[in-house]
Every structure is written in C-alpha cells, then in structure tokens.
C-alpha cells in the first residue's frame, strides 16, 4: 500500500494539478483505458455507501437485536438520502460534528484497553504478529480486506489546486496520511489483539462491541456503541454525498444519460436523481455479508491502483531519453506495489 501511495506521490509531483487515478490513466494510457479505469472506480463509488450503511446496520443490530439488519439498512439509508437531498450545507455541518465525536471515541476506547491491560497479565506480546494459527494465505487475505481502511488517501490529490506549493506538499501529504493512518490502525489493532488474542468471537462482525463490554463493562459498551453508531453516520453521509456528486458530474459530461443524471433540482440545488440512485443501492446489500460487499470495493480500488502504477512505468518509458528518472523508483517499485 505504501508503495502504491509512493506511485501516487510521484505522479502528483509530475502533474501538480488536481487529479485521481482516472486522470492519470487518461493522460498516460489513452482515453479508452482511462474510461475503463473510471468505470471501475464508479463501481467503488456505487458500493461504498452500501458498505457504510451495512456496517452501521450490523452494529445497530448488535445493540438492538429486536430490529433486523435489513430494517436498519432502510432507516439508515433513508435518513442520509433525505439529508443529502435537502442540501450540502446541512450535510457538511453534520459531517464535521460527527467526525469529532468518532475521533474522541477511538481515543476513549484505546484508553480503556490500556487500563484493562494494566490490570490483566498479557499472555504474549509477539502472538499478535505470528502464532501457531498464522498462515501466509490467511494473512494475505486479511491484507486485502484491511486495504479497505486505506482507501481515500488519493482524495487529497483533488485538493492540489488549493494547496500552496502543490508539487512539494501534495506528495508529502499523501505519504503522511498513509503513514499516520497506518500507525493508528496498527497500534489500535495491536492493543486489541493483546486484550483479546485470536479471532474467535461470538459474532465476528460485531467484535468491537464485545470488546467494549470486556474492557469497560456493559454500561460503557452500550453508550459508546450508540455514540459510535451515530458518529458512523458521518461516513455514510459523506460517501453518499461524494458518490452522488460523481454520478452528477458523469451525467453532466455525457458519460451517463444527461437528462437523468446531469440535472440539479431547481429548489434544493442537489442532484436528486443521483442521490436516489446511490440510495437505491441499499436494496442490493440487505442480506450481503460485509466481506462480500468490501470485496467489490477492493476490486475497483485495485484496478485503479494498478493503473496508477502502470502510468508511472509508461511515463518512465516515454521520458527514458532524458535520462533523469530513476529506474528503481519509476519501474521496480510500481511493479512490486500491487503484489
């Protein structure tokens, strides 16, 4: 993942303009290849809101088992769809508030884990890295799922035009985001493994709730779970917003039928049809296991990342004559990155 991030960073330095995998592919690999990369990314954007709602609903169902997951899906998706239809200002304000709440909750959970570890002896500090149950295949499969946590770092390249000295600062920002995110995920996951070694849970999909009960008691778990779920709506709101916006832009560009997708509602100034389409994706995910849903997203993401790595190589070949580009950084690293 870090190697893919470096490829992004390399290209963001070369084209100090706003861009993403599609933009890079169109410039370096041609318009048809670019179109297909964009098409693969579109699949991500269609499934991202669904995964966010699904994760949210699984947590809600663990807290309130009386209401089935599919009904929570309907409620969640209905609410965020309504907010996104009403307008971007409301969605943005809610989003910031909820993000602050969720950051606070991660810190609180972490503190409780440390307190728990202080009072309970740890079986093994190295077991979280490698133990008798570890297999290479298992770790590789887990890595593919965990990569989902890193999706989104490329969004920073879309800010290139508003950034001072973008050629220098955007690549730096990408590396920092992946590194900081990686450290946070690693430390939290490591501490969680110390508290609860192995992967055996009564309900693996709601494992974090069970762990909250373990470290902080039922009362703590119930309240943080509830607050966490409400805060989690932030990501539901945000991903639906960006997905709808992408569909709208594609409609305006004539990639998707313009009459349906390329229109803003006259009163709310929001792309109502696009919001409803993303909202409709919930019906696909009603009975889907979380892993299947994230698998779709990983497909689109890896297609895009592979294309970015390919772009770096093509750029190197085209500019080979100048003799200024490093073969290791422009060919070897992009080749190794996706494997």
């Amino acid at each position: 993942m870090l190697l893919t991030a470096l490829s992004y960073a390399r290209l963001a330095r070369i084209y100090p303009v706003s861009g993403s995998a599609y933009f890079y592919a169109r410039r370096n690999l041609g318009s048809a290849a670019g179109f297909l990369v964009g098409w693969a990314i579109l699949l991500d954007y269609l499934f991202l809101p669904m995964v966010a709602w699904l994760a949210q609903s699984i947590l809600l169902n663990a807290q309130f088992p009386a209401v089935p997951i599919w009904l929570w899906m309907l409620i969640n998706a209905g609410l965020t769809t309504a907010i996104n239809v009403i307008g971007i200002a409301l969605a943005d304000r809610l989003n910031r508030l909820l993000l602050a709440v969720s950051t606070f909750l991660v810190l609180l959970f972490f503190a409780y884990c440390i307190r728990f570890l202080a009072g309970n002896p740890v079986a093994s500090y190295s077991a979280p890295f490698w133990n008798s149950n570890s297999t290479v295949a298992g770790i590789s499969a887990a890595a593919a799922i965990a990569a989902y946590s890193f999706l989104g770092f490329d969004a920073v390249t879309t800010l290139a035009e508003e950034t001072k000295d973008a050629a220098r600062n955007i690549p730096r920002a990408i590396i920092w985001i992946v590194s900081i995110g990686g450290v946070i995920f690693f430390v939290v996951a490591y501490v969680m493994q110390l508290v609860h070694p192995g992967d055996i849970f009564d309900d693996a999909q709601a494992a974090s709730y069970a762990m909250s009960v373990q470290v902080g008691g039922q009362f703590f778990a119930d309240w943080t779970n509830l607050a966490g779920i409400i805060a989690g709506s932030a990501s539901c709101l945000a991903v639906q917003l960006s997905s709808s916006r992408l569909l709208f832009i594609m409609g305006r560009d004539g990639v998707l039928p313009r009459r349906l997708f390329g229109k803003l509602n006259g009163r709310t100034r929001t792309p109502v049809f696009c919001v409803l389409v993303t909202g409709g994706m919930r019906f696909l995910g009603m009975d889907m296991p979380l892993e299947t849903a994230t698998g779709f997203i990983n497909f689109g993401a890896f297609t895009a990342f592979t294309a970015v790595n390919l772009c770096v190589i093509v750029y190197y070949l085209r500019n080979y004559a100048t003799g200024q580009l490093s073969a290791v950084r422009f060919v070897v690293m992009p080749l190794v990155a996706p494997s």
Partner: protein
Amino acid sequence: MITQLSEHALISGLSWLAIGIVYLVWLTRGFRRPTPEMSFTQEQAVIVAAEQSSEAAK
C-alpha cells in the same frame, strides 16, 4: 493483491468491466466518436476543456 480478492468479487468486477467495454463501444459508436471525458472533480473539467481548446487551435 488483486489475486487475493474473493472469487465472487473478481467475477462481478470483471463482469462490470465487460459491461464498461460494451458501453464504451456504444458511447463512441465503435470508436468513431471521441471518448467522453469523465471529470471526477470540477478542476479536472476545467483542465480537460483547456486542453481540448488548445488542441483545436493547433
């Protein structure tokens, strides 16, 4: 990492790409018309428009 995806995701993803190819051929009427640009952001749309007008000027 693409090899680590579940079979389900891989098949659905490849089908999606296949639909994309058919759709692209239809959109471009068999590559006789220019490929429509996707601008993922507002700024990209501006850059693409500028490029096209400079190409047209040549």
